[in-house]
Amino acid sequence: MENFELPLVLFTLLTQIAVGMTIFAALRQWSTVEGATTQSRNEWLTVLALIVVAIVAAFFHLGKPLGFLRMVFNLGSAWLSREILGFALFGLLAAVTFYMVYAKTPNGLLFKLTAIIGLLAVLTTGMAYSSAGIDAIHNLLPLVFFLLTVFTLGPACASYFAGEKSKNVLVAVLSPTLLASLVVRFAVPFAWLAGNTVTRISGQNFLASPLHWLHLVVLLAGFVAVQRSKTIPSWLPIALLIGELLGRIAFFALAVSSGANLGNLY
């Protein structure tokens, strides 16, 4: 089992929840279904809090945290630099959006822009973790996983803040996303078994890991609950958050680097 990086787990997960919430907040508020209510102020405050906690968590990953400002030095080739820039912009826009919502002067264009920048930032995260040294995820799978998290936890967490009219839309998005997430996350480790040695070991690690299966159980339970009730129960976002947390730990801990197999068949 590779080292799992709790700061990275928290950074990626929390920023993706923030982006998901932003997308659904922007969709609802931009379309003026809901105005700048107390609920929406709390929603944007939550988004901002998630970003702040994510950034603080990321500091704990760095060997030299004070050097973080230099992380945008290699925008030309490093997706990690682009990720940092993307989330810096996203955080800034979210802060401005929160201020405008708080001041009761919400701006639909700013909502949309914040959501789009957030989505682009998630794209850079997906590319940054498509690591060349880890065959199993040296592809678009990290991006797929991360987008599934965005569109799972985004609508789920947004349900705490959405008005009654909007909740149907959230259910309509969450239900198929949960199913897609379940299918993809179930199938991928089996597909890895057909890969080269290190990819196969990654697949075996996932299939033998309680983290992976608990994640799938939570997704399945969430899908069944949403299908039966046609609503998002208040316990579901918390359960999904725990599930995604377990899944993210598995992502960072169980995918094997090629370098771990030197001297053996590939």
């Binding site: 060997g63 030299k64 992380m71 040294g133 680097s257 370098g259 030197l262 068949l265």
Partner: protein, 186 residues
């Protein structure tokens, strides 16, 4: 133009680890950190009573994934192909550890930065051999100039080493010899 690379002759390597020890002594590495390591070939690759080894460190690739992915540009590549890591510029994000398929960069938790083989570029610039090459008692590990080297007996991606032409590691290998079994007539 010179293009430096390591030549790992597994036919000559006896697995003494002098290379790794010389590297460790040269750079006074922290306990537990090695830049050059000896990897025994598994029985699936070398199914004989003899053992065979690859002595591996950074492969100073043509398209270094560490350099490409480093957010603070702590890696640079010299004209002679040596990939140099600047420990002072490194902030210890460890992205290079995830990007390198050969496990070359190592994280020094005590110092909060990554480290790796520099091919002893300071020694090369002084006309000396890298410490590992100089220490090898069997000449199994050599420094070569790829532009002048006759690679007819070498392979770039032997079994036991990741096949990554997209990154183009510069290390050349000579495969271990198949032991000759002498039988007497009964």
């Amino acid at each position: 133009m010179t293009r430096y690379a390591f030549y790992v002759n597994a036919e000559l390597c006896i697995g003494c680890s002098s290379c790794g020890m010389a590297c460790k002594n040269q750079y006074d590495l922290e306990p537990g950190i090695v830049w050059r390591k000896l990897y025994p070939l598994s029985e699936e690759i070398y199914p004989y009573k003899d053992r065979a080894f690859f002595s591996l460190a950074c492969n100073h690739c043509d398209q270094p994934a560490c350099l490409e992915g480093c957010p603070v540009s702590a890696y640079t590549q010299r004209e002679d192909g040596i990939v140099v890591h600047n420990q002072d510029a490194c902030i210890g994000c460890r992205n290079c550890l995830r990007n390198c398929p050969f496990g070359a960069p190592r994280y020094n938790a005590a110092e909060g930065h990554v480290e790796k083989c520099s091919m002893c570029w300071e020694r090369i610039d002084e006309g000396l051999l890298p410490a590992c090459v100089q220490a090898c008692p069997t000449t199994a590990l050599q420094l070569i100039d790829l532009d002048a080297f006759d690679g007819s007996e070498t392979v770039q991606y032997p079994p036991g080493f990741p096949n990554r032409p997209d990154i183009a590691p510069s290390t050349c290998f000579k495969l271990p010899a198949v032991p000759v079994i002498v039988r007497r007539d009964v």
